[in-house]
Amino acid sequence: AQSVTQPDARVTVSEGASLQLRCKYSYSATPYLFWYVQYPRQGLQLLLKYYSGDPVVQGVNSFEAEFSKSNSSFHLQKASVHWSDSAVYFCALLNTGNYKYVFGAGTRLKVIA
């Protein structure tokens, strides 16, 4: 069965510091992978997606993620965070067999001054 694990429920970083949010997946085939961000009282917004090809994908607001088949991971990174990046981040996998999305539990990011 497919699954997505975000091992860190909460992450706190200082403004200007680098960021990595971890995502591990379990899926029998090559997955379609996504990172979404949710700001308070908002729906989820797509940050970036990976379907195939270059394992490093660029997204909005200078976010990027790297797909690793050997590690079954799709970690989200940003070189320098801003206070406005404070939000909940979800990693998701699309099961291309039944077209159902599987979401991780989310990581709440807090950026402090």
């Binding site: 009282r41 908002q42 729906g43 077209y99 159902k100 999305y101 989310g106």
Partner: protein, 113 residues
């Protein structure tokens, strides 16, 4: 493009009452998804339509929940005899096709008192 529109944004119902939640997907999108979001359970898949036809309702509680998509411009999620445990944010999402990224509405926060 107004995005996925969900109404109402907030709904308060008394225990045992019925609640109907509305979703207008992005024009031209063929796939519509409903999710439930709670602190404890995270994002839970409820049901999925493609070209208005129900494809997968495996996440729907069988007895009191129902979803319909009478035309391509809206879908409804109906909860009969609401219970306090139904309190959650209900998110609707649509995608251009089954294998592409989903776009989420801002959600309906349902509170059952």
């Amino acid at each position: 493009n107004a995005g996925v529109i969900q109404t109402p944004r907030h709904k308060v119902t008394g225990k045992g009452q019925e609640a109907t939640l509305w979703c207008e997907p992005i024009s031209g999108h063929s796939a519509v998804f409903w999710y439930r979001q709670t602190i404890v359970q995270g994002l839970e898949f409820l049901t999925y339509f493609r070209n208005q036809a129900p494809i997968d309702d495996s996440g729907m509680p069988k007895e009191r929940f129902s979803a319909q998509m009478p035309n391509q411009s809206h879908s409804t999620l109906k909860i009969q005899s609401t219970q306090p445990q139904d309190s959650a944010v209900y998110l609707c999402a649509s995608s251009l096709d089954s294998g592409t990224e989903v776009f989420f509405g801002k959600g309906t926060r349902l509170t059952v008192v």
